[in-house]
């Protein structure tokens, strides 16, 4: 059921992840324990220009930030499609090449559209 030859390479990664999280977690907790903690309402207030914050921070913000993430998802998927293509191009030859060109062509249409619409502009 399990493919052992591949998995033996991944075991160090798993251990590494656990160790790395452990070390950085220990650093924060160690510092919390070792250093003297003297909390104070003024010290713990959110940083503002000398007066109390007017309202909660989490509010509306420019919709453009959403748009950037949305476009990023699409291009990220495009890149995900490019990876297997890049390493098997020798086997799939001309047809594979043109198949990808058609795919990229469709997405380029979308890219030109967003460019013309000004979705990539910031002011």
């Amino acid at each position: 059921m399990f493919n052992e030859t591949i998995l033996i390479e991944y075991l160090p990664i798993l251990i590494f992840i656990v160790l790395a999280l452990g070390i950085s977690g220990a650093a924060v907790i160690g510092s919390l324990l070792v250093a003297k903690q003297k909390p104070d309402p003024d010290k713990n207030a959110a940083y503002e220009c000398g007066f109390d914050a007017f309202s909660d921070t989490r509010g509306k913000f420019d919709v453009r930030f959403y748009l950037v993430t949305l476009l990023f998802i699409i291009f990220d998927l495009e890149i995900a499609f490019l990876f297997p293509w890049a390493i098997s191009l020798k086997d799939i030859g001309m047809f594979g090449f043109w198949s990808m060109m058609a795919f990229l062509g469709v997405l380029t249409v979308g890219f030109i559209y967003e460019w013309k619409k000004g979705a990539l502009d910031w002011e």
């Binding site: 790395a20 650093a27 903690q37 989490r58 990876f83």
Partner: protein, 336 residues
């Protein structure tokens, strides 16, 4: 299971643990002395001396800084979401460490020689945003929030061009395994063809690490330190270390992809007696020097200029280069 096999397994396990610890200690030392090198290089470029007091030539300065930050009080804002607030720096720093598992530092020296090494690196670097968004949100402060938002959008934008550049490189090497990428033959024309991508990659990693001239998320002059504004003591130190660890990581990635990793430069086979790790270190340091140099010389970008560069120049350029690389390799039947 026989005793012999058990001992063998135990030894293999101990060797692996030792390997991981060597890597972690190496990265930590590298980070500590990168901060020192940064202050020295910036000092030299501004005709100052940099740190000189702690230890000979100030060599113990990073350690003193570390001890100081460790023994400070951790301020947790009362408005903050405590768990996420403390988790953010931990995640950011752990990610910068974990990526080192797949980087080949010498001929037979790579902790996890997985088939999809470059994808693993790309995945880990795309997770870096989380530490920053979480910090920006959990602090519940305007500056942190704005800084986190900006930083996340910026990193995400430059990741697209980084991904496309990686595709260019793997077209030329025909493998996703980092060791094979290092060893793949690279004729001169291929190096010349990939050179512009190397430049674009260098600029993209500057943006990806939020370094000058793309250090808007910090933007001391407008948002007073960005997502890090509420952090203090060790939590701040972890952000700081994470930023520098990421710089070293990205330099190592550029070395592996473009500069031939641990191989001697320019195919000078008579230099083979020098251990590969020395070449790897030297090449990485050269790119790190570029990071510091850029910080000392270039003014900060404006946010609209940054986005324009990422989406309107790098994205079309790298996409075109992917198509061009594939077309060239097919036309000359030079696919690996």
């Amino acid at each position: 299971m026989s005793i012999d096999r058990e001992i063998e397994m135990f030894l293999a396990f101990a060797w692996m643990l030792g390997h991981i610890i060597v890597l972690i200690v190496g990265v930590l030392l590298g980070v500590a002395y990168l901060t020192y090198a940064e202050r020295k290089v910036l000092g030299a470029m501004q005709r100052r001396q940099g740190p000189m007091t702690v230890g000979p030539w100030g060599l113990l300065q990073p350690i003193a800084d570390g001890v100081k930050l460790f023994s400070k009080e951790t301020i947790i804002p009362s408005q903050a979401n405590k768990i996420v607030f403390l988790l953010a720096p931990v995640i950011l720093f752990a990610l910068a460490l974990v990526a080192w598992a797949v980087i080949p530092v010498d001929k037979d020296w790579v902790l996890a020689n997985i088939n999809v090494g470059i994808l693993y690196l790309f995945a880990i670097s795309s997770l870096g945003v989380y530490g920053i968004i979480m910090a920006g949100w959990a602090s519940n402060s305007r500056y942190a929030f704005l800084g986190g938002l900006r930083s996340a959008s910026q990193m995400v934008s430059y990741e697209v061009s980084m991904g496309l550049i990686i595709v260019c490189v793997i077209l030329c090497t025909g493998s996703l395994n980092l060791q094979e990428i290092v060893l793949a033959p690279r004729p001169i024309w291929m190096q010349i063809w990939l050179f512009p991508m190397f430049i674009v990659f260098l600029i993209s990693i500057l943006a990806e690490c939020n370094r000058a001239p793309f250090d808007l998320p910090e933007g001391e002059s407008e948002i007073t330190g960005g997502f890090m504004v509420e952090y203090s003591a060790m939590t701040f130190a972890l952000f700081f270390l994470g930023e520098y660890a990421n710089m070293i990581l990205m330099s190592a990635m550029a070395t592996t992809l473009f500069l031939g990793g641990w191989l001697p430069p320019f195919g000078m086979w008579f230099l083979d007696f020098v251990p590969g790790i020395v070449w790897f270190g030297l090449k990485t340091c050269a790119i790190l020097f570029f990071f510091l140099w850029a910080r000392a010389t270039l003014p900060r970008f404006r946010y609209d200029q940054l986005m324009r560069l990422g989406w309107k120049i790098f994205l079309p350029l790298t996409l075109l280069w992917v198509v061009g690389t594939a077309g060239l390799l097919l036309a000359f039947d030079a696919l690996p």
